[in-house]
Subunit: 340 residues, 2 copies
C-alpha cells in the first residue's frame, strides 16, 4: 500500500497494458493510428489504475498550460461572478481551469503587477473585464509577453481584435426611447466615471437619443458617478436639486440607480409616480429593490462564455469581434406621464 500513495503515471499504465508509454500517450490524445484491441488494452489499464495524466508534466512537454486568467477590477460583484460562470460554461469538459486575478485600477504599479503575474504563471491566455479591458497598455503588455488575450467591452476598442463586445450606445438609446414613449421629456443622466469606455458609450448613447427626439440635455441634467451605490446617491442629489426636477433618471448601472432610488425615498418622492428610474446591467439588485427596477439587460455571462471560447479556440469561435445585444427589461420603476 505504500506505493499506492503515489498517483499512477503513464509508465505504470504502459507496464500494466504491456505497451510503450508512447502508445499510452497516443490513447490519451486520441491518435487515430491505433489498432482497436491495443486501444482497449490500454483503456482497461487506465481504468484499472484510475490513471489521470499529470497536467504539470503535460504543460511542460507541450510548452503551454491549461490555465485561463481573469483580470478584473469591476466594482460590481455580480458582474464578476457572472463572468466567472460564463467562463466556466465555456471550459466545462475541457482541461482548462480558471485563475482569477483582481487588479487595482488605482495603483500606479498595476501594469507591473500584472506583468509579474503573467510572467510567473505563464497562462494560456487571459480574459480582461471592463473597465480594465479598456486599458490599451494592458493589451500591449499581453502582446509583448506573447500571452493570448480577449477583451470584453462596451464598444469597438482599437482594431477590434480579440474583442467581445456589447453595443451600449444602442442599448441606452432604446432605454431613452422607452422613457420618451412613456411621456418623459426632462430626463436626467447619471453617467459613469470619466475614463471608462462604458461610461462614455452610455453617455453618448443617451445624448444622441435625446437629440434624436429633439430633447434638450442641459448640463444640470448630467451627473457623474463612479458606478457605486454611494456615488449614485451623490449624483442623484445633484440631479434632484435642479429646477425643474427631472421626471425620470437613467443611471449607467443598477447600483447607481439604486442609489437614486434611495435619495428619492429619503426626499419623500414616490417611485415611479414622482420619479421614474431606469438602470443598466440587470444585476440582481435591480430585481430586489422596491419597486423592481426597469433596466437594460447586459448579457455579460454569454459574453464571457464567448470570450473564453475565442481564447481557447480562436479559429472555431471566429476571429471577428463578436457583438452581443442588450435588451430592455420592463419592471415597475417607470410611470407613464400624461399631458406632457
Amino acid at each position: 500500500m505504500a506505493k499506492s500513495e503515489r498517483q499512477p503515471t503513464i509508465n505504470d499504465v504502459a507496464r500494466v497494458a504491456g505497451v510503450s508509454k508512447k502508445t499510452v500517450s497516443r490513447v490519451i490524445n486520441r491518435s487515430p493510428l491505433l489498432k482497436a484491441d491495443t486501444r482497449e488494452k490500454v483503456e482497461a489499464a487506465i481504468r484499472e489504475l484510475a490513471y489521470v495524466p499529470n497536467p504539470q508534466a503535460r504543460a511542460l512537454a507541450l510548452r503551454r498550460n491549461f490555465l485561463i486568467g481573469l483580470l478584473h477590477d469591476n466594482p460590481n460583484a455580480q458582474t464578476v461572478l457572472n463572468v466567472q460562470e460564463g467562463v466556466l460554461d465555456a471550459i466545462r469538459d475541457t482541461d482548462f481551469a480558471l485563475v482569477v486575478r483582481p487588479v487595482d485600477r488605482h495603483s500606479p504599479r498595476m501594469l507591473d503587477d500584472i506583468r509579474d503575474f503573467l510572467e510567473k504563471q505563464r497562462l494560456f491566455g487571459v480574459l480582461i473585464l471592463p473597465p480594465v479591458s479598456e486599458n490599451d497598455a494592458l493589451a500591449a503588455l499581453c502582446r509583448e509577453l506573447g500571452c493570448g488575450y480577449v477583451r470584453m467591452g462596451s464598444a469597438q476598442l482599437d482594431q477590434g481584435e480579440n474583442l467581445v463586445m456589447s453595443n451600449d450606445r444602442d442599448a441606452v438609446g432604446r432605454a431613452v426611447d422607452y422613457l420618451v414613449e412613456q411621456g418623459h421629456q426632462r430626463i436626467g443622466l447619471i453617467c459613469g466615471p470619466d475614463g471608462f469606455r462604458s461610461a462614455l458609450e452610455r453617455r453618448e448613447g443617451f445624448k444622441a437619443a435625446m437629440k434624436r427626439h429633439g430633447l434638450d440635455v442641459p448640463a444640470e441634467m448630467i451627473a457623474e458617478g463612479s458606478y457605486t451605490f454611494e456615488s449614485g446617491i451623490a449624483a442623484a442629489e445633484r440631479l434632484l436639486a435642479a429646477s425643474p426636477r427631472p421626471t425620470a433618471i437613467f443611471a449607467s448601472n443598477d447600483e447607481m440607480a439604486a442609489g437614486a432610488l434611495h435619495v428619492a425615498r429619503r426626499e419623500g418622492m414616490a417611485v415611479p409616480d414622482d420619479l421614474s428610474l431606469v438602470g443598466f446591467d440587470d444585476s440582481p439588485i435591480a430585481a430586489h429593490i422596491w419597486p423592481p427596477m426597469t433596466t437594460v439587460r447586459w448579457p455579460i455571462r454569454a459574453m464571457a462564455k464567448a470570450a473564453a471560447m475565442k481564447l481557447i479556440d480562436p479559429l472555431e469561435a471566429g476571429a471577428q469581434p463578436s457583438q452581443f445585444l442588450s435588451d430592455l427589461v420592463e419592471r415597475s420603476s417607470v410611470a407613464r406621464i400624461e399631458g406632457a
Copy 2:
C-alpha cells in the same frame, strides 16, 4: 531574434553566468550556501535575460504545484468575491495563484464533478466555502485524494481540523439581545434551508437567546427560506400573516431580510416603525436598501485570508481551528418599542 521568442530557461542563465544550472536553482531558491560573488554573477545573468522560472517545470520537479482552488456554491456574489479578495490578500507576493470552481449543490453529480476537477488539476489544496463546506463527503473526498483542504464554516464541524470558522450562534444571540433591549418581544425568524449548518446555527442561536430572555418562539414565528431574496419574500409573507404580527424579524442573511423589507413595503408597513428588521452578513445590499439595514457583520474576507494561509503554511498559521468574531452593525432598520 528568432531565438528570442523563446523564454530564457535556467540553462540559458547558467551559460551566461558561467555556472551550472544547479547553482542557478540555488540562487532562485535562496539557498544560503552560496558565495556572495557567485550569487551576484547569477543574479546579473537573471536580470540580463529577464529570466523567470517556468512554474510548470517547477511543479513537475517538486511534485506539487502552486494553485489553490476555491470551491463554492454560495448564492451571494459579494460573499464569494470577498472570499476571493481574502485569498488574494494571503497569496500576494507568493507564487500561488487562485483557481475558482463554482459547484452545483443541487446536482447529483456534484461530488463526481469535483473529483474529476481535483484529479485533473492536482491542486496544491482547496478552500471550501459554505454552504458546500458543510458537506462531510466532500472533505472525505479531499482526504482520499490527498488534496489539502481548509473549510470555512459557521461553527465547529466534525473534528474541527482544517477549519476556519465564525461563531454564528453567538452572533445571532447578540442580535436578539439587541432587539430585546429595544423592547421587542414578538420576534420572527427567517431561517436558512434545512441542511445548511449555518442555518442550523443561526436558528439555534436565535432560539437559545429567546429562551434566555424568557421569550416564546411559537411555530408560526419561524419560517424557512433558502438564502435568496425571493425566498425571503415568501417567508416574510408567512410570518406577517400571523396574528399578532411580529414587531421584529431576524433573517439569517441580508438577502432574505431585503425580501422581508420588500413585503413590508408592499403591505404598507413602515420599516422600522411598524416592523424592525435585522439581517446577517453585512453584504452590500444591507447598506444599499432603504432604510439601511442593521445586520451582523460576518468577517468573511479575513476568514478567507486566514484559511488560505492555513492551507499554504499550516504550521505557521496554527493547526487549531481559527475562530473569528462577528459584530452587530447598527443602522436604521430597528426601532425602539416603548411600553412593551
